[in-house]
Each structure stands twice: as C-alpha cells, then as structure tokens.
Amino acid sequence: MATLRDIRRKIQSIKSTQTITRTMKMVASSRLRRSQDELERLRPYAIKIEELKDRIVSSLPESIHPVIKEKEEIKNVLLFACASDRGLCGSFNANVNFAIENFITQNRENYEKIGLYIVGKKIRDYFAKRGALIVKEFVEQRRIGRETVEEISDDLISYYVKGEFDKVFAVYTFFRSPLKQIVTVEELLPVKSKRADQKIDYLYEPDRKSILERFIPQYLSTRIWYMILNSQTSEHASRMNAMENATNNCGEMINFLTLLYNKKRQESITKEMLDIVGGAEAVKKTTY
C-alpha cells in the first residue's frame, strides 16, 4: 500500500519529468519556427524549378539524356528514405518506417532487388536489424547542408545512369501544417513531366543536351533539399506535439495524485483525532 511519503515522492518525480518535457517542447517549437522559415524561403524556387522541369522535359525527346528515359525492364529499385536521427517525436519515424516496409512487402514480387538510401539514424537502425539492403546512409549529421544534398543527388543520378538501379523512389514526410504531416512516396527518377501534352518549341542556347546536363542535377538536388527540409520541419512539429501531450499528461497525473495525497492526509488526521478523543474518554472514565 502506498504511504503518504510514497505518493509525495511520486508527485515530485512526475513534476521533474514535466519540466523536461516542457523544455523539450519549447526547444522544438523554436526549431520548428526556424525550419519552417527556411522551408518557406525555398518553396518558390522549388515550385518554379518543378514547373520549368515539366516544360523542358515534355519538349524534349527521351533519347537526349539517360535520366529522362524510362528503362524498359525494371529490376532493381532504390528507395531514398528521409527521417530523423533522434526519437521522442511521436510516431514521426515509425510512420516513415511503416511506409517503407509497406512498399517493400507490396513490391517484393515485382522487383529483383529493393535498396535503401537512408538519411536518419532511426530508419537505419530499424532496417539494419531487419536485414534490408542499405546502399548508403547519412547518420548523425548535425546539419544537412547543400554539399550533402548535392552528394545525394549525384549518387542517385549515377546509380540510375550506370544501371545499378532502374527506378528511384523517395519516401519522406511532407509538412502540410504544424498539426498535419503526411508521409509521401514519390517517384524521383527517371525525371518525368507531369504535363506531357505541353510541347514548346524553344530556342536552345547553347544546345539541348548541355542545358539538360546542367539543369537535371540542379533540379534533383533542389527537390531533395526540399524533401529534407520538409522532413526536418515535420520532425520538429511532430516532436512539439508529442511533448505538448506528454506535458499535459504529466499535469493530469499530478492532479490525480495530489487529490489522492490530500485524501490520505485527511484520513490520517481523522484517525489521529479519533484516537485522541477515544483516549480522553477512556481517561475520563477511570477517574470516576
């Protein structure tokens, strides 16, 4: 049975947990603001380059560059997966893991080999344990910068061009709002146009091939950068929500325990009073 002291100790311990979760929430929310700002800055560029890609790719024949040409036979598939290095952010990492696992079980029959290209320790740990094929990983990067993104994009292009993989998908968490983040699976390579009907007869300078050779890496690295920023922003939002819930739950538990504590205290006071009154009565009786 819990004594008064036990309950008091428990309340203290929950209070210190609450302090920690509240602090983590505040840290996450300030990081969220910074990350969201960075995302908003990149957004116009990402949208415009996406539109330009649609127009350029639909105006050119497939044969001009291997990256815009769809492979005839698709044997090996690469998944570019992006989540976080750290936990305590609700179901953020678990959702991405789940999406990847789903993809693998659904497509195991269709492809010979499914590789993973990973950003984030949590997914690495999860899939390393399950013996998935991990092609490359970026783990414990304090800050993912432009160079890392370019490295990833160069890697993906060379895998595709050399024929190691015939299709590349991306799995990441899209940041819709601080309250809503959506795990998304998208096709990354080959680069396709969403509007194939839109053919424009451009005047190219210097020529189509050299423009494309410069455009494709820039486009892909922008897209990957945009995905990583989305994922980071989602992580902070998700952590903020998780920690907010944890803080609220701590508060609820403290309320409940304080009530219990006061009841117990009242009970023991009543008991003592009864003892004293009873004792006094007994003493009175003996004097007669």
């Binding site: 800055r41 990149l42 116009p44 560029y45 415009k48 380059i49 330009l52 127009r55 350029i56 424009i200 007869d201 451009y202 005047l203 190219y204 300078e205 210097p206 050299s210 423009i211 410069r214 455009f215 820039q218 922008t222 950068w225």
Partner: protein
C-alpha cells in the same frame, strides 16, 4: 505597350518580381537582351550582371549561375544566388 513579366528567384528568396520593358543577362554563349515579343528561349546563365529597364530606370542585379526561360513575354530566371545592387 507590351511589357515583360520578370521573376528572378533564388533558393533563398524571390529576388525580383515585376513588369519591365527590357532585360539583359549573361548567357553561356554571351550577353543577350530580351524585349517583349521575344521568341521562346531557354538558356543557361553564367555569373555576371543582370540589367532590367523599367520606365527608363535601370535595375542592376549581381547574379550567380542559373537558368533563364522566356515564354510568352514571361521571363523566368532561376539563380543559384543573387543580390540587387542598385534600383532606380
């Protein structure tokens, strides 16, 4: 008179967005200028200066590498980096 709608965008921010009369930039094969009614045009840009003219006023932008597209009097410039030097 017809005008050009110009958007200059970098990964950092929207650098410039306005209707202007003329724009000049440095492409890979040399300097080029665009006036309203220009043919559809696609080129890579080298580091250099971009000059816009609006109502006789000159706007100068220092630009990094990038891409330029001209389509139906809309000019889209995607730059790696850029800074507005002087306006007006």
């Amino acid at each position: 008179m017809a005008r050009l709608y110009v958007e200059i965008i970098t990964p950092e921010r929207i650098l410039f967005q306005d209707e202007i009369d003329m724009i000049e930039a440095r492409g890979t094969l040399g300097e080029f200028g665009v006036l309203p009614g220009h043919i559809q045009f696609l080129t890579t840009l080298e580091e250099g200066e971009i000059r816009c003219v609006k109502d006789g006023k000159k706007i100068s932008i220092s630009a990094g590498k990038g891409f330029a597209e001209v389509l139906n009097d809309k000019v889209l410039l995607l730059l790696e980096k850029g800074e507005i030097l002087e306006q007006g």
